[in-house]
Subunit: 621 residues, 2 copies
């Protein structure tokens, strides 16, 4: 057995979920065996759009620019077309990500899945991992024979000529809807929506006088390279002659589309890709049984293509799991952290399907009036059920509807850390734990660059500590006190500090002191009045590339003097501290005060997160 | 002679000016011989920053994203540091492109010249042109022996082993400050500023506690990859022992820098590039003698590296010449258009040097107070000489100071076209002929994308006709009338229409009807209320990808209902027509009215531009 190759993780499947997981873990230094049973990446077609929230994530991974270099189509609006006696007519159109959502990129990005995959693959290869193709998984067991590498995985070339057995700390299945791993584990798919459909989907270049051919509707999705995707429902399990194996030719789908689009005409210059497939919306009962063998993406949940959720949910599954494996393996968290992967991600998938049903029901009755749409967009406090559902639908569609429940990493009043300095959404901050950090534009002090604060820490696997420092003249004691207590060797800041003190970290921007967290300080002051060496205690000044001036006006808080403070709902004079999880979701918010309180509250929170007793020696200071 | 290879143009030198010219002409289908005497592109160092205005241009050429992919440094602020008895201290800092300038990218972009060159070279090669290296020019004459290809050019490999003689319509020298072509033509350099300097320049990675190491100052320019460039003046012609050949070692320059930066410390991790060179600011007396052999870039004007103008002026020289050659060769303009290359570009170079002297004089006396800087930034109408000069300096530094004088393509009251519908800056529009089009954000109707109107027509060599169509209910007759007169076969719109009517142009966005111009229509209406087929005459509806809704709020005109109309100074209800030259500068502005007046005024303007009598048959309609 000692001859067997050992890996930190074996990843099966190189679709969006497997690639995202591999990208994160490869960057953070893990040894990965990654296989896929296809001889090459997706050559064409497949996949939904990239949601606004996913584009934030891709940017945070440094991959957005490479994706946008392919000139994808961008969808800003959704149009509704309904038939009447003369044919179809437009009954409404509105923003797919309206203004009430504070999104940097309020559009859906449409690009051929293979191009997206290749951007990830290039990055993975840069970090020394090659995807082994076409290989498949033939068996696995968590036999615990090697306590460090408890999982044995058997792999084979798809033609059966070559075989390999390896040991790993983790096995991950990103195999797609048909999963060997899930079947072997005997995990059932639970179908929330009893209705299944057969869909015909066709990418091509068309000629048409249909005016909304470049706007998203139920049937039309614009794509890159002047292409358009049409979705045509071929059959439904509500049909009397329902057959999930029903199929249709290219000509049949085109003829169906021509019929639907009347009185407009449509013809095809060329068809790039075409497929007919049955789909039912379902969720796996479990995402893991033993917290060693995990699943994600389509293995765990399948969505109607209409919802455009598949790839986006896969990205978030992967990132959620990646940082948790990282924190467990680095000793930053107890192994119990891994249980939150299923509890957090399964809930999201369930919410999506529940919502989809609710939305479909509401909208099948009627579509919203222009007034209701305007009301939803304008943050009108008076909301009927209809507008509420419409707004929620926009949040889901854009990806900002993801909200994790309170648990050990998402603080709430029920959290074991009960220091009085914690602030909740109910008691003042506009931030909600389990939701992403609100975007805010600030000026970086060292180079006066105007930057997106929420993007300043890359996806590096670290917690993000945002110290909103209010007005420098009022908070200098608070900052010095916080820094001084953070310097305590058993504080959350010091406990995981780099052991190798001889290594030169002068040019290290994000993790000069510890890989456990990165740190930003944001002052309510103009950039020209911020002197890093003079105004910041050394602990914070060391993060010199992460000191910011909150001096950029924001249309959403037009009267605020310090827009970033105001958008977070923090005191513009006194500031506050926000802890953000490595995947960008808010963990907790703490008041910034003089004395030991702020550090004490943070130590309490991180004591729970890390499973260690932090800050005990503080009294000795 | 018939055996001699023939080219549309021979371009000598593959620095910024030669590459930009080659890129444009290669895209527009010209046959190019392009040589450079270096064996490969600039390996490291050289060049100044890319100005905000140049970034607009690079984006318009579709090259910006590839340049930004190299993660260049961005400079948003300029700091002033002055010595006193204790060492240097900061005396001021302000935006390098303050808010009073309406810039999309209010920063300077710093990137190694070789990387910029490679972006151009890749594009040129995609269009079938290879740069021949290391080759040099050994002789040339405009002997007129072939009236189509009047220029004979002799070329040789730099090692002398290979020779070639070719004939061309044009010869362009982008050789840099030492130019064989300029010398052979006997054209003198005129030194405006009598003072010359020897500069030491050094790129490297440093360690320092100097707080503004990532902000631009007289001595410091941040660069990509955590590098910084330091400029150190080694000698000046005002020194008693002035020697333009004076040199200095790396250690001498570093020691000088250490001295200047006291009380701060600095040390080098590594030096990437280092050079010492003399420079005087000068302008060539002529840019061409015969309008067949042209020069541009450093051949014609050299600037102090402090001014950061060299590469940016080169870009604009090249684009200015490119479209004029294109229009003459396509028969869109008489050959006389070419004379405006020298008259326009030489004036800009002269203004730059004049201004540089004025600025240096004013700032050597004192630097502006915070109040003056704020005043300049806030568009305060009360301006002293100091603030005026400061604002002009920002305009020059950002590249928005370029203003071409009235001539046959830049309309003024002295222009031969004197139709009463022309509108001047004095009589109401905020646009100035000879200046770039004001940026404006609008919604594209076909796909609801929020776009930058000024970028919507790529640099395709065409005039750009922006029809601001006001409120649809008020202007439908004006639009129909304009379209109907434009359909006249001798109108500016029809005269150069595509001859090959059999070619399928269904998917042609920008030039479906003619290469002479591209056309945009902008309504003061929400996108959802614009129906292209129903509301636009066929002539305009054919440009379906260039119909826009002026429905995006703009902070600069917060009370406007139609921000783009308002920013141009056009009537929000009645609209107006703006003609923009192929290089992005405003040519003329005309009122949009019912009847034949608008088309008549445009025909008059284009009659002058094209040297043809346009619109004569209009009476026959």
């Amino acid at each position: 057995m000692s001859a067997m190759e050992k890996y930190d993780i074996v990843i099966i499947g190189a679709g969006p979920v497997g690639l995202t997981l591999s990208t994160c873990l490869a960057r953070w230094g893990y040894r990965i065996k990654h296989i896929d049973n296809r001889p090459e990446p997706t050559p064409t077609g497949r996949a939904d759009g990239i949601q606004p929230r996913s584009l934030d994530l891709l940017r945070n991974m440094g991959l957005k620019r490479k994706i946008m270099a392919h000139e994808p189509a961008k969808v800003y609006e959704v149009a509704f077309w309904d038939p009447n006696s003369k044919g179809i007519h437009r009954t409404g159109t509105w923003a797919s990500c309206p203004k009430f959502i504070d999104a940097r990129y309020p559009f859906t990005t449409l690009l051929h899945q293979g191009l997206i995959e290749r951007v990830f693959i290039e990055d993975i290869e840069k970090h020394g991992v090659q995807i082994q193709r076409p290989w498949t998984i033939t068996g696995f067991k968590n036999d615990g024979k090697d306590s460090n590498y408890p999982v044995e995985v058997s792999l084979a070339h798809v033609d059966g000529t070559l075989k390999e057995t390896v040991r790993a700390k983790y096995l991950f299945s990103g195999e797609g809807a048909r999963s060997f791993v899930r079947d072997q584990l005997g995990i059932k798919i639970h179908h929330k929506d009893p209705i299944a459909h057969v869909w015909g989907v066709m990418d091509g270049v068309v000629r048409t006088d249909f005016p909304d051919i470049k706007v998203r509707s139920i049937m039309v999705i614009p794509r890159e390279n002047n292409m358009v995707r049409l979705y045509i429902q071929i059959a439904s399990s509500t049909d009397p002659d329902w057959n999930p194996r029903k199929t249709a030719t290219v000509e049949e789908v085109q003829s169906h589309a021509k019929q639907i689009l009347k009185p407009y005409s449509i013809s095809w210059d060329r068809v790039e890709w075409y497929s007919v497939y049955p789909i039912g919306q379902g969720i796996a009962e479990r995402y893991t049984l033993d917290e060693r063998i995990f699943m994600g993406g389509d293995v765990c949940h399948t969505h109607s293509p209409k919802a455009g959720q598949g790839m986006n949910t896969a990205f978030l599954d992967a990132v959620n799991l990646a940082w948790k494996i990282h924190h467990v393996e680095r000793g930053f968290s107890p192994r119990t952290l891994l249980s939150s992967y299923e509890s957090e991600r399964k809930l999201i998938a369930e919410n999506l399907l529940d919502f989809d049903a609710k939305y479909a029901k509401l909208f099948s009755a009627r579509i919203p009036s222009a007034g209701e749409v305007a009301g939803a967009a304008s943050n009108d406090p008076v909301e009927n059920e209809f507008v509420k559902t419409f707004k929620a639908s926009c949040e889901f569609t854009s990806g900002y509807g993801v909200a994790y429940n309170p648990n050990l990493i998402n603080w709430s009043k029920e959290h074991p850390a009960r220091h009085p300095l914690f602030v909740s959404y109910e008691s003042g901050t506009k931030l909600r734990t389990g939701r992403i950090l609100t975007p805010a534009t600030v000026t970086r002090v060292v180079d006066a660059n105007v930057v997106h604060l929420e993007q300043e820490i890359p996806l590096n696997g670290s917690y993000r500590l945002y110290i909103f420092a209010g007005q420098p003249s009022l908070t200098s004691t608070s900052l010095n006190d916080l820094a001084s207590y953070m310097s305590n060797p058993t504080s959350f800041y010091s406990i995981f500090s780099h052991q190798d003190k001889t290594k030169d970290r002068y040019h290290e921007r994000d993790n000069p002191h510890t890989d456990f967290l990165s740190l930003c300080t944001i002052f309510n002051a103009p950039r020209s009045q911020i002197y890093i060496q003079e105004m910041l205690p050394e602990v914070l000044a060391r993060y010199r590339d992460h000191v910011y001036a909150d001096d950029v006006w924001d249309q959403r808080v037009p009267d605020a003097k310090a827009a970033a403070h105001a958008k977070m709902g923090l005191d513009e004079e006194r500031g506050g501290v926000v802890v953000v999880r490595p995947d960008g979701y808010v963990g907790c918010v703490v008041k910034l005060v003089e004395g030991n309180g702020t550090c004490e509250a943070l130590d309490q929170y991180f004591s729970v997160v890390t499973g260690r007793k932090l800050g005990e020696e503080r009294a000795a200071l």
